[in-house]
Symmetry: C2
Subunit: 172 residues, 2 copies
DNA sequence: ACGGTTGGTTCGCTGAACGAACTCTTCTGT
DNA sequence: ACAGAAGAGTTCGTTCAGCGAACCAACCGT
């Protein structure tokens, strides 16, 4: 390919979007960030991504303004979604919904709930009870009937992420 | 990687979804199919995808039940979205919307309209005028202010796709 | 009969992903 | 204060998917 992530010069916004988040691992990193993962080693553990690839992707996403590096406890850096990155939530939700519908034989794996009113968040992003558009920070992830409990060998990040929790809330 | 499109064994539906449509080119093929592209040569022309890769992707998507091969005029085969494939429309819409928002300096490139009532289709997939969920086949793509008119050297498929038309309607 | 179009296949090349090992810094426990 | 562990990457050799140009076979209009 001419340049790594370049597609053709199409006048299409989806092409632009895919040039940012269309590479292997990238959307999974964004999803994990939405779910509260913030540390390098937690991404490595949870995703099984090669460390060099993770380094490159984080750098790239920071450069594109999807993530930003923030100082964590100690001098450790953590990675946090920007507003632009949080704007990818509908993409993550739509993909998860499609996967749930076609590849979850024993029912949905995750159900998202509006924290304020406890209504379920529909695929469109609105609350089925109150009808409002549910912002990311007011969305609670709850395990659905199809979610197999995480095995110990999948590491503790998996276990933490499988517990009901508010999105964007750091797992640690 | 262990297997080509395998990620780790995560109990996550988005991972499953990405194993199907997460590879380079795959979502662009789906988008083109939504926009009415049906022929091998049209995909090649419009996407600039290597023919061998297109062959492999089409085969894979058929195997996964996202596309199906239908006989076209002559003995030519064409590729058509299945119901499962049409279910990816929210993903395409969400990605396009994000791209439009962040990478379209002179305004949105494409605006989707509800054919029946002429209301605009929001990012959530509902019609802003009548409030209904707009099915794919009743959605009309119209060029937005940010759409640069396709150049002749981009081929005639680009030109056809830039004209207002109903989604899923074959371009030829 | 035959030149063009369509729908692929073949093939050598290159670059990205892989994973295991290594480095450097910062905590933590004693 | 010091040893060891953990965190956050870097380095490196291998492998494999994507690339593009060329090739091929069937069909189509004339």
């Amino acid at each position: 390919m001419a340049l790594p992530r370049e597609y053709t010069n199409q006048a299409c916004s989806m092409v632009r979007a895919l040039e940012i988040v269309g590479e292997r691992w990238t959307l999974l990193i964004v999803r994990d960030a939405v779910f509260g993962v913030r540390r390098f080693s937690d991404f490595v553990e949870h995703l099984g991504i090669p460390r060099a690839v993770l380094t490159e992707r984080l750098e790239f996403l920071i450069g594109e303004g999807v993530l930003e590096r923030v100082p964590g406890p100690g001098k450790r850096s953590e990675y946090e979604l920007t507003a632009k990155g949080r704007g990818l939530w509908p993409v993550v939700r739509a993909l998860s919904a499609w996967g749930d519908e076609h590849y979850a034989p024993s029912g949905r794996r995750r159900v998202f709930v509006h924290a304020d009113c406890e209504g379920e968040v529909a695929e469109s992003g609105t609350c089925l009870r109150c009808g409002d558009e549910v912002p990311l920070a007011e969305t609670v992830m709850t395990p659905g009937p199809g979610l197999t409990p995480p095995l110990p060998e999948n590491g503790q990040v998996s276990a933490l992420l499988a517990r009901p929790h508010r999105l964007l809330q750091p797992v640690h």
